[in-house]
């Protein structure tokens, strides 16, 4: 039985209250439509844009950018981190460059990328790829470096060669760090997507937002913001699902 107290302590209470307040403020004219559309009209637009195919089409374009950029960036990060983490010469070659790149905000490269790749898809995907490479590289590299040397010794004492050592000890040991890196990379991908789509897009969520801005359609803007948030959330739950499967051995996840 739910009591009055349970309701007051529920975590959904404050967001719902905020929504109601917002709706009320819109209906009474405290918040005009051109400042912020009412929740009800946002929902109406959401259904309308979905039914007309406008939202799914543009979402697909944005998703493709984010997915491609993330895939390229994180693969590059994994390859570089493996080379730097497992080979001494690789570390001397790769790590200094990455550390320099680290100090540079990727957004600042936008003008250069536009000059190199134009204002089409390539620039957007390249920006996302470039930004999402770094967290994967840094976390995986650290994970490989931080492997418990005692476990490595134990495995060596049982005659494991280099390849078996990497496969049985180093990579599984670095997997938690890799997943952390992937999670950061995913959220950075969404962030870069937002930024990249402000560069002269002719399709995608950013394009929809720009059009809506020109038409003062705040309802459409809010819908797009919601979709951006959902993208981030979906990526995060994906990684979480992988984690709970791949890291079943960890004490916090192990059922006693």
């Amino acid at each position: 039985m739910t009591t009055k107290r349970d309701v007051l302590q529920a975590r959904w209470l404050s967001p719902v209250a905020l929504l109601l307040l917002w709706e009320l403020a819109s209906r009474t004219g405290v918040i005009p439509d051109h400042i912020l559309a009412a929740p009800s009209s946002v929902v109406r637009s959401l259904f309308g844009m979905t039914a007309s195919g406008e939202l799914p089409l543009n979402l697909a374009v944005s998703l493709r950018r984010a997915a491609l950029g993330f895939a390229i960036g994180s693969s590059l990060g994994v390859v570089l981190a493996l080379a730097a983490g497992l080979l001494r010469r690789g570390d001397a070659l790769i790590d200094p460059i990455i550390q320099i790149k680290r100090t540079l905000p990727v957004v600042a490269l936008t003008p250069l990328f536009i000059i190199w790749f134009g204002i089409g898809e390539t620039t957007k995907i390249a920006l996302i790829a470039f930004a999402s490479m770094l967290p994967v590289y840094i976390n995986l590299h650290q994970g490989i470096r931080g492997i418990d040397i005692r476990l490595v010794d134990a495995a060596r004492s049982f005659g494991l060669g280099r390849a078996a050592l990497i496969g049985n000890v180093i990579l599984p040991g670095a997997l938690p760090s890799l997943l952390t890196g992937l999670r950061y990379s995913l959220s950075i991908s969404v962030l870069m997507l937002v930024i990249a789509e402000q560069v002269n897009a002719s399709a995608g969520l950013g394009f929809m937002i720009q059009n809506a801005r020109d038409a003062m359609r705040t309802d459409i803007i809010v819908v797009c913001l919601m979709v951006y948030a959902l993208l981030g959330l979906a990526g995060d739950s994906l990684i979480r699902a992988i984690e709970s499967k791949a890291l079943a051995w960890r004490p916090t996840l192990v059922e006693a």
């Binding site: 134990a154 004492s157 049982f158 079943a248 192990v254």
Partner: protein, 256 residues
């Protein structure tokens, strides 16, 4: 030349020891941890190695495990060796049975691991994650992992030091019975005089980089009560603690 070296020397007590170190040294920076050390272990012999903390016990054991380079030094090691470390060093991302067969190749069957675990009394936990094991259970798994390799030389680096007293007694009994069944040569590194006296045929004391003292125990295990006192006093003396009676209470209570 070769013909001559193959003839066993009369001075060597055992014609073919499984371990033989002659004038072995190991240096870290300025400190000679092992200095001109001689060591021989006969097949099937149970040897305990005592020494103060930092005396180089682990360093010697790592050499025997083949973990440290020993190029240009005179040492003979058996082909099959296995080590049990103080911290069990099971790979947390592999099930207990997978840890037991680690490095034995894909064709090693699960039932082989299961029977090895059965032998150390851990048959019921064969499929558990290592992080769910208690200290004693982890050490049993670690013993199974060593024994499944049928080692000629079993190296134990303070394997019972982190266990509670009751568990330790059970583990002592287990190690003895496993040794009696499989007859590997055993080198048990310990700082516990009682443990050494209860388990070993021969006790070595490591000090200043060499085997500083050696005691052979003729009395069979289980009826050593009469020799224990004088032996303890002498061993403690080698470790730098003087006690006439060989009783711990007298040692601690003695006025300086």
């Amino acid at each position: 030349m070769n013909e001559l070296t193959r003839i066993p020397l009369a001075a060597v007590p055992d014609p073919s020891p499984v371990v033989r170190l002659r004038g072995f040294s190991r240096v870290f920076g300025d400190t000679r941890v092992l200095d001109d050390l001689d060591l021989e272990i006969a097949p099937g012999e149970f040897v305990a190695l005592l020494g103060r903390s930092g005396s180089g016990k682990t360093t010697l054991l790592r050499t025997l495990a083949g973990l440290d380079p020993s190029v240009g030094q005179d040492l003979r090691l058996p082909g099959t060796r296995a080590t049990v470390f103080q911290d069990a060093r099971l790979l947390p991302w592999k099930r207990v049975w997978q840890n037991v067969v680690l490095g034995l190749g894909k064709r090693t069957r699960r039932d082989l691991a299961a029977s090895a675990l059965e032998e150390v009394g851990l048959g019921h936990r064969w499929d558990a994650w290592p992080l769910t094991l208690s200290g004693g259970e982890a050490q049993r798994a670690s013993l199974a992992r060593a024994l499944i390799r049928k080692p000629e030389l079993l190296l134990l680096d303070e394997p019972f030091a982190a266990l509670d007293a009751l568990t330790r007694i059970r583990m002592h009994a287990l190690v003895l019975s496993l040794w009696q069944q499989h007859r590997p040569a055993v080198l048990l590194v310990t700082h516990d005089v009682e443990e050494a006296m209860a388990l070993a045929d021969r006790i070595l004391v490591l000090d200043r980089g060499r085997i500083a003292a050696e005691e052979r125990i003729g009395a069979p295990r289980g009826s050593r009560g009469s020799v224990i006192r004088s032996l303890r006093a002498s061993l403690l003396g080698h470790l730098g603690l003087q006690t006439e009676s060989g009783v711990y209470a007298d040692l601690i209570g003695r006025k300086p």
